[in-house]
């Protein structure tokens, strides 16, 4: 692991440049995610500022970008709609507290056990939901809306081939906003959906009654937010680890995410987490250190303070086009091949995760369902025991433990055995617990009754140990 000084100042030039690029790419997303959550754009912009700045100091993965995200915005929708802004800030605070507890309890280690199928389902359903959230902003509004969405998409996908230094979405936003203003076409703008205030965020205690009632309202949301935020953050940190060929501290990242959400809650922002897309942009643009994250947050705030009254003039269809690009980038397009090639159970887990998320609009529910389902599949898989016969040698294939004893015993109970002496071969098996030992003794007794001699062979050391231990116990009675 690098020293703190290296993490901050090991790559000053690259970090400053990439931080500027990320700030520009962050603004449209922060605004779009605020609109998804049903709040003023400022809530997402403030969150992106405070998240990025806090994570720059407290995070465990240098070079990773955290801000207001779609995954978190989606969880917040019902809370904002039913209870309002005060509860959003309170829930953000509580999310931070839960994440810090998770971090202290070293929960990041547990997230290592999240199956790939669930992770793939997570990003795919996230992409689908963000896309669905864009639909009301461009279907059936006006013909010009379709035209602008279309042109935006063409621009963001073709420009990067010719212009590499300036991010294509920024060029699309600037040129199309100018075109929209001067041609006088009638398009909805960001200003129609909310206001941009050119002021810095201020410290506020969330305006909610501090009692059990409030806690009961916000706790389920905060728990979902804490899970979603950590899942996306840890996935993102693995991607940044891989891209940079370095390692990171996952538990520190969990605590950092918590601290960042607490700060964000106090400064009037919505809960956030690490962003896959922005972090990839940061690394690709040369960002490696903590400085890049700090610059991204600070420059974003600076741009809003200076250019806030221009930002409200951005036409919604342009923002929608950029968000469609974000969805396409988020979706894992190798999933279709995965569905065909992966083991059936993995494909089912992936699809289940997606269906539940799209159904409930809550990524945490999909993750939990996916984990439970794959755990069940795992137990079914591990508890299958098959017995194969070669003359008088019977091979046990699979693990022998409490969940797998039935097929083992049943085989010897119901199959006709002609030999007078047989060998039960454990070279492909292992006995894990008392039930396994019990099942073996049961089979020996069963066969003895039928006049068949049994010899157990090829037991590994661990299995022999547990058998002798339990036999001693039973003989001492």
């Amino acid at each position: 692991m690098q020293t703190l000084k290296q993490q901050w100042f090991g790559n000053i030039r690259g970090d400053i440049l990439s931080g500027l690029v990320v700030a520009l790419a962050l603004i449209p997303e922060a605004i779009a995610f605020s609109i998804i959550a049903g709040v003023d754009p400022m809530i997402g912009l403030y969150a992106s500022f405070t998240m990025a700045v806090t994570i720059a100091f407290a995070g465990g993965r240098p070079g990773m970008i955290s801000a207001a995200t779609g995954a978190m915005a989606l969880v917040l929708v019902p809370l904002v709609r039913d209870y309002g802004l005060g509860y959003l800030f309170a829930a953000t605070l509580l999310t931070g507290v839960i994440q810090i507890i998770f971090g202290v309890l070293k929960i990041a280690k547990l997230l290592k056990f999240l199956p790939n199928a669930v992770m793939i389902g997570f990003v795919n359903s996230l992409a689908i939901l963000i896309f669905m959230a864009q639909v009301p902003h461009f279907i059936g509004i006006s013909p010009m809306t379709y035209v602008f969405v279309g042109i935006t998409l063409v621009l963001v996908y073709t420009l990067p081939r010719f212009i590499k230094v300036i991010p294509a979405p920024l060029i699309a936003i600037v040129t199309l906003t100018i075109v929209a203003i001067f041609s006088g076409v009638n398009l909805r703008t960001i200003g129609d959906l909310g206001t941009i205030s050119q002021t810095l965020p201020t410290f506020n205690i969330p305006d909610v009654p501090f009692n059990l009632e409030t806690f009961k309202i916000i706790f389920p949301f905060s728990l979902s937010l804490a899970i979603v935020g950590l899942v996306e953050s840890l996935l993102t940190s693995r991607i940044v680890d891989d891209m940079t060929g370095t390692e990171s501290n996952k538990n520190q990242e969990a605590r950092g995410q918590g601290l960042a959400n607490i700060v964000t809650g106090f400064f009037g922002g919505m809960a956030g987490c690490a962003m896959i897309g922005q972090s990839v942009i940061n690394v690709k643009s040369g960002g490696r250190g903590r400085l890049s994250t700090l610059i991204a947050g600070v420059f974003l705030m600076f741009l809003i303070l200076v250019l806030g009254d221009l930002v409200v003039k951005i036409p919604m269809p342009v923002l929608v086009g950029i968000m469609i690009m974000v969805c396409i980038g988020t979706f894992d397009w190798t999933s279709f091949k995965y569905l065909v090639k992966a083991p059936r159970t993995d494909a089912i887990v992936m699809l289940t995760t997606v269906v539940i998320v799209v159904w409930t609009h809550d990524l945490s529910k999909g993750v939990i369902a996916g984990v439970i389902l794959s755990a069940l599949f795992f137990v079914v898989k591990i508890s299958s025991v098959k017995i194969t016969q070669e003359s008088n040698r019977y091979f046990v294939n699979g693990q022998l433990f409490f969940a797998s004893t039935d097929p083992f015993v049943d085989y010897f109970k119901y199959n006709e055995i002609k030999d007078k002496t047989i060998l039960i071969d454990f070279s492909n098996s292992r006995i894990w617990d008392e039930s396994g030992v019990g099942a073996l003794l049961k089979v020996e007794d069963l066969l003895k009754e039928r006049g068949i001699q049994v010899e157990v062979v090829e037991l590994d050391a661990a299995s022999s140990k547990i058998i002798s231990k339990l036999e001693n116990v039973s003989s001492s009675h």
Partner: protein, 139 residues
């Protein structure tokens, strides 16, 4: 002669043919070494992380892609080492070759995907244009 040779490998058949040529060149000189360089594409990182359970698995999968090439080197008596770089293939190879001041870059004429090549231009072409040492492009 060429003492320090860089061989770009990407898991394609072309890279295997390039490897054979690199071995020939290296065999001419007693103490020459070949660096087999595999560039992990930034754009593939996300999907590879999603589809593997740990970083060990990812590294194993990548290592597998160059086993054929590595096998050739094991069979010959040429000393070699394997280097994994991260970034976009063309520029990373150029940067590494120039930094390390290698004497020769050996690279297959085309990689895995014909369509990508049409859109993006070939990696070998980019490398040849911008590397400071001679480049051998193997058909």
């Amino acid at each position: 002669m060429y003492k320090h040779i860089l061989l770009a490998a990407d898991g394609s058949e072309n890279a295997v043919r390039a490897a054979k040529e690199a071995i020939k060149m290296a065999s001419c000189l007693e103490d020459s070494t070949v660096e087999i360089v595999y560039v992990v594409d930034f754009d593939k990182s996300k999907s590879e992380v999603l589809h593997s359970s740990s970083s060990e698995v990812i590294n194993l999968e990548r290592r597998k892609k160059i086993t054929k090439v590595e096998q050739l080197f094991k069979e010959s008596n040429v000393s070699y080492k394997v280097i994994f770089l991260h970034g976009s293939p063309g520029p990373e190879i150029v940067k590494y070759a120039n930094e390390q001041k290698v004497d020769l870059v050996v690279i297959g004429s085309r990689g895995l995907n014909g369509l990508q090549e049409m859109v993006l231009g070939s990696v070998s072409h980019k490398v040849m244009k911008r590397v400071n040492c001679p480049a051998l492009i193997v058909k």
